[in-house]
Each structure stands twice: as C-alpha cells, then as structure tokens.
C-alpha cells in the first residue's frame, strides 16, 4: 500500500536537518477520534494520544467524542472536517465503515493518519500505523507450540478465548494463531468469543473449562478480559495448563513476573501506537520526514511488532504495560 499520494510530496523544505523534528514548527491542529475508552487498551490509546500532544507546543489536539457507534463517529469526523483541522488521527470503529468519510477528509485536503484498524482503500489515508493482529496470533501460537513441543505433548487440547468475533482484528488474530499452530501439527480446540470485558471473560471461561477436563494451553486475546479469565480458572481450581495473554497490560505482566500464575506469557499489541500516530501527524502537518530514515517523507504504512513477553524479558516491557 505504497501509493498514497501526499499532495505536498514535492515540497523541498522537507529535507530538514535531522534534529529539526523536535524543534518547534508551525502549529498543527490534529483532530483525534477513537472508539469509546471503555476498555484498558482503548483507554490507553486515548491517554497516550493526549499525553503525546501535550509534549509539543506546536500541536493543538482536537479530540472528539469517543464512541462505539459508527454513525456517531462519522458525524464526529464530519465535525472535524468542518472545523478544517490540519491532520486527523483516526482509530475507526470499523475500517470499512469509515472509509467513505476518511476519503472525504482527504478530498478536503486533510491528511488522515489511520490508526490500527485499517481503511478499505489507501485513498482514504496518508499513513497507516497499527499493530499486527495476524502477527500477534502467530506469536502466541508459536510460543504455545514451542512450549508443548518441548514438553513432548502430543494431541494437546489448546483453548482460545477470542475477543469480539465480529471485529476483523479478532478474525486476524485467530487466523494467525491457527496458522502458527498448524506448523506444529496442532489445532485449536475449544474456542469462544468474549466481549473484551472482565465479566464476559469470567463467564465464557467458567463454562469453557467445563467442556474439557484437561487443557494443555490457552490463548486469551486480551489481557483486560484476561482478569476475568484468570478469576474463572482460579475458581475452577484448574492448574494443569498454561496460558498466554494478549495486548500486554501491566497487570498481566505482573502476573507473569510473579511466576505463580497460569499466565506464563503475553503477546503485545502496544497502545503506544497512539503516541507515534500523534508524532507522525505532527510531522506530516509540518511536512517533515522521519529523521532516522533516509526518506524525506513519512512512510505510508508502519506495522508494529508483536513481541512475546515472558518471565525472562518482562522487566523490559513492564514500563510500556498499560493499566487495565
């Protein structure tokens, strides 16, 4: 997806000095829109964006009402277009459903930074930055595969607690997980979707544990709902398996560090992407490039890496862990 045509790509001043990026430039008004911060991860996204914007005296953040309602988000973006902000950073509730309005913004001369959930066409954004959902599944699958192989378990029962099933990100994670396990000749056993909430995590897991008297490993897509998943496991007095989390909350990392929990690892999906998105928006607004790269322009697509946090490397990741 490298054909984003930034209309000012020919501006010569972009080749600025390498440390010029941190120096104050022309004031950029950044519109920001994300789903409702009703969840640890989305909360961290909003928080990181606000915090990052505060760091720059030349950035004015216009954060609109976070909402889980697509039409409300569309309306919110329309307000931003009417306000003629310079750049819009948008984490859409649903990439496809917001593509039209993003295109409208681009057409109105507003650069759109697409955060995480991807739009349907590159015409709708200047730059995409986001996590690697498929890669997350792969990381989790690989960790579980390695562990079970090394223990010599054959025909393992591998459970999966997914997030909201109708989100493309959930589908990508599950696909990655399935593909990774397939490399070891394993397959996913009981798989249920929760709602990204503690309570649904507890509810689904409590029932799921009843369906299999023995489980070897479990991947839970999301550390927020993971609190509930862990509670259900404790309440069922089940210890025979290990579990891998997702997203990388501080709480999950503390559990991993303690070593006494069934939670042995988590695969990250860092909400710091919001901070980066604000930085990118500022650079694009000021028509600067990323100084560590040779390009004069910000790239059109940046995919974050999904790291596997285990007891061995948890200390390195703890500062980035978000509170759920």
């Amino acid at each position: 997806t490298g054909n984003a045509k930034a209309k000012d790509s020919t501006t010569p001043t972009a080749a600025a000095a390498s440390n010029a990026n941190s120096s104050t430039g022309k004031t950029v008004t950044i519109g920001f829109s994300a789903p409702a911060a009703d969840h640890g991860w989305t909360g961290a996204i909003a928080k990181n964006a606000t915090a990052e914007a505060k760091k720059f005296s030349d950035v004015k953040l216009e954060a609109v009402q976070p909402t889980n309602d697509v039409t409300a988000q569309i309306a919110a973006i329309e307000t931003l277009i009417n306000k003629k902000v310079d750049v819009i950073v948008m984490l859409p509730n649903d990439g496809k459903q917001l593509t039209a309005v993003a295109k409208k913004a681009m057409a109105a001369g507003i650069q759109v930074i697409n955060l995480d959930r991807v739009f349907d066409t590159p015409l709708a954004y200047r730059t995409w930055i986001g996590g690697d959902n498929y890669g997350m599944g792969v990381s989790a699958g690989s960790y579980i595969g390695d562990q079970l192989k090394s223990k010599g378990v054959s025909n393992p029962v591998i459970a999966e607690i997914a997030g909201i099933d109708s989100l493309p990100l959930t589908q990508q994670r599950s696909q990655g997980f399935k593909d990774a396990l397939a490399r070891y000749g394993f397959k996913v056993g009981p798989r249920q979707a929760a709602q990204f909430t503690v309570q649904s995590g507890q509810q689904v897991t409590a029932n799921l544990l009843q369906s299999a008297s023995r489980i070897d490993a479990m991947w839970n897509h999301d550390d927020d709902q993971g609190i509930g998943v862990l509670a259900a496991i404790k309440q069922a007095h089940r210890t025979e398996f290990f579990m891998v989390g997702g997203a990388g909350s501080a709480n999950a990392m503390r559990e991993i560090k303690s070593g006494s929990s069934v939670l042995k690892a988590t695969v990250t999906y860092p909400p710091t992407m919001a901070s980066s998105a604000i930085q990118l928006a500022r650079l694009i607004g000021q028509t600067k490039g990323m100084t560590d790269l040779s390009q004069t322009e910000v790239p059109s697509s940046i995919t974050l890496y999904s790291a596997t946090v285990t007891k061995d490397n948890v200390d390195k990741f703890l500062p980035q862990g978000f509170e759920s």
Partner: protein
Amino acid sequence: MSEPPPNAVSIEKPPNALATEKPPVAEQARVEAAAERASVHRRTGVLARISEFRNVGLLGVLVVLGIIGGITAGTFWTRSNILTILQQASVVGVLSVGMTFVIIGGGIDLSVGKAMALASVWCTTISTQSYGPVVMVLCALAVGMAVGLVNGVLIAYGRVVPFIATLAMLASAQGLAEWISNKQSQLVTQGAINDLATTEPLGIPLLVWMFAVVAVLGWILLNRTTFGRRTFAVGGNIEAARLAGINVRRHTALLYVLSGLCVGIAAIMITSLTTTGSSTHGDLYELDAIAAVIIGGTALTGGRGTVVGSVVGVVIFTTISNIFILNNLQTETQNIAKGVIIVIAVLLQRRGRESPV
C-alpha cells in the same frame, strides 16, 4: 364500511316519544341546560387538549437544549450542524415511527436494531448488489418486513409475549447477519446507494427528507385512518377492540410488519450512511427508539401516544449527543450528564396527569 349506517336517518329526527310525556317548557329548559353544560365541557375540552398536548413541553425541552447548545458551543447554531443533527436522528427516527405504532398497539419490538443490521447485510451481499440498487432497496424492505411478519405471527397467533418474541428475534437476526456476512463489513459497490447519504435536495440531506416523509406518513396513518384508530383500540383495551369486531390478531401482526417496513427503510439509510452492510449496525438502537417513543409521551402500556412526540424525542436525544460532541466532553461526563438531562427534561415537561407509576 365507508357509508353511514342505514339507520343514521332515524337519528336525526327529534325524540318524539318522550317529548309528549314532558311539558314542552321543561324539555326546552332541559336541552338548554344540557347545551350549556356541553359548552362548559367543550371549553374545558379545548383547554385540556392544549395542556395535554405534551409535545409543547417536549418542544420546550428542545428550546432549552438549543439555548444551552448555542451558549456552550459556537458552531451549534450553524446550518450544517443542525443538518448533521437531523441526519444523525434520521435512522433511529425512522425506527421510532414504527416503534410508536407497536407500542401504542400494546406491544414492543426489541428486534429493530438487529433486524436492521440483518437487512443491511442481506442487501449488500455481492450477489444482491449485482442486481443493482433497486433490487438492493427491495431486498432490504423485504427482509425487514419478513422479520416483522415472523414477529407478528409469533406474537399474535403464537401468543408469545412481545418482549420475549422480539428479544429472540434480536438474537436470531444478529446471528443470521453474522452468518451471512461472515462477520465482515460488506462494502457497497453501488454508487447510487452511497449517494443517498450525500445528495442534498433543496440543500437538505436526502436522509432527512426520508425521515420527514416517514414521519408524515406515520402521522397520517395513525391519526387519519381506521388502521391508526384501531391501533389505539387494540393497545388501549384489547377486549373492547375484539368485541367491536376488530380482527385483533391480524391487526397486531400488521403492526409488527409495519415496524419491519420501517426497519427496511432504516437499513437502506444506515447502509448508505456507513457505505457498508454490517452485523454490527444498530447495536442498542432498539433502546434508543423505545426511549424516544416513551419520552415522546407514548405509554408503554399501550393505547396512548403520538408520532410527533416520538420524532421530537429522537431529535432531543440526538441534540444532547451533539452538544456533548461540540463541547468535547469525555465519555464519563457525557453519561452522567445524559442521565441528569433526561430526568430534568421529563420533569420540565411535567406530565402530572400520568399515574404515579
């Protein structure tokens, strides 16, 4: 049924039989006294009607919101913001018109939000889209009405309580929508559909026009047709309606089909607004629609209500959200404020005439 009954003729002749038994003077006085009493009744009647027209109270609430919006947000009173509010109100608005009928008729329809999602998904499958925009529209309408028909038959003939029947439909419609769409948003490739949301005849978005047309037709149907009047009867006193010779079951079933028709229209609107068909559309729209209908003065117990009230109710809710967005309030503040505003609005409107529970 359209002509006056045959014995209407005999009605007009004066009551001779009695007149002879009473002294004419007394009869005269009696009639005059009665007429005087009647005029008192008529006078209080008009007064009562005005004060009972609780939409006045609702409009007052809207005015207060408008003032608050104007003070707190500079852009509130711009043409484009007002049109945004109306466009935002249009989808739930159309659903609430159908819901008004169902609730006045003594029922409830919890399935509207997810039935709308199902209709939007069904009309945006690749194969449906290949037949062009007209077929897509017909498909959405057909799916909506089919859902309504199933609801109606279950409730009217299967005697399942409306709450449960439509709740079951909510779950099934959602599942079906997920199954058809494979849980993915289906992009609309037919430009004509997407254009619905962007065309602005006479400077007003087409979706707002559609909302207005549905509301006006709904008003006419409710207030000016036998169907509408019978809806009040069925919801107000089902036994009386039955004894009056109304086919109560068929009527009840039709109410849900009507709501389904509104669902189909709303599905087209949301599809063009979001340029997709998706199983995630319409989450909790049923609650929004019911809340708007009830804040609009329709009684949840049936037999009473107005379309105008429901429409104003939807606009009130949308305006509240809009003011929040313009003022950039955070979720938690929004939620707290929303609750407080709703209560104040209702207290302002002061429906003292309602029973205390």
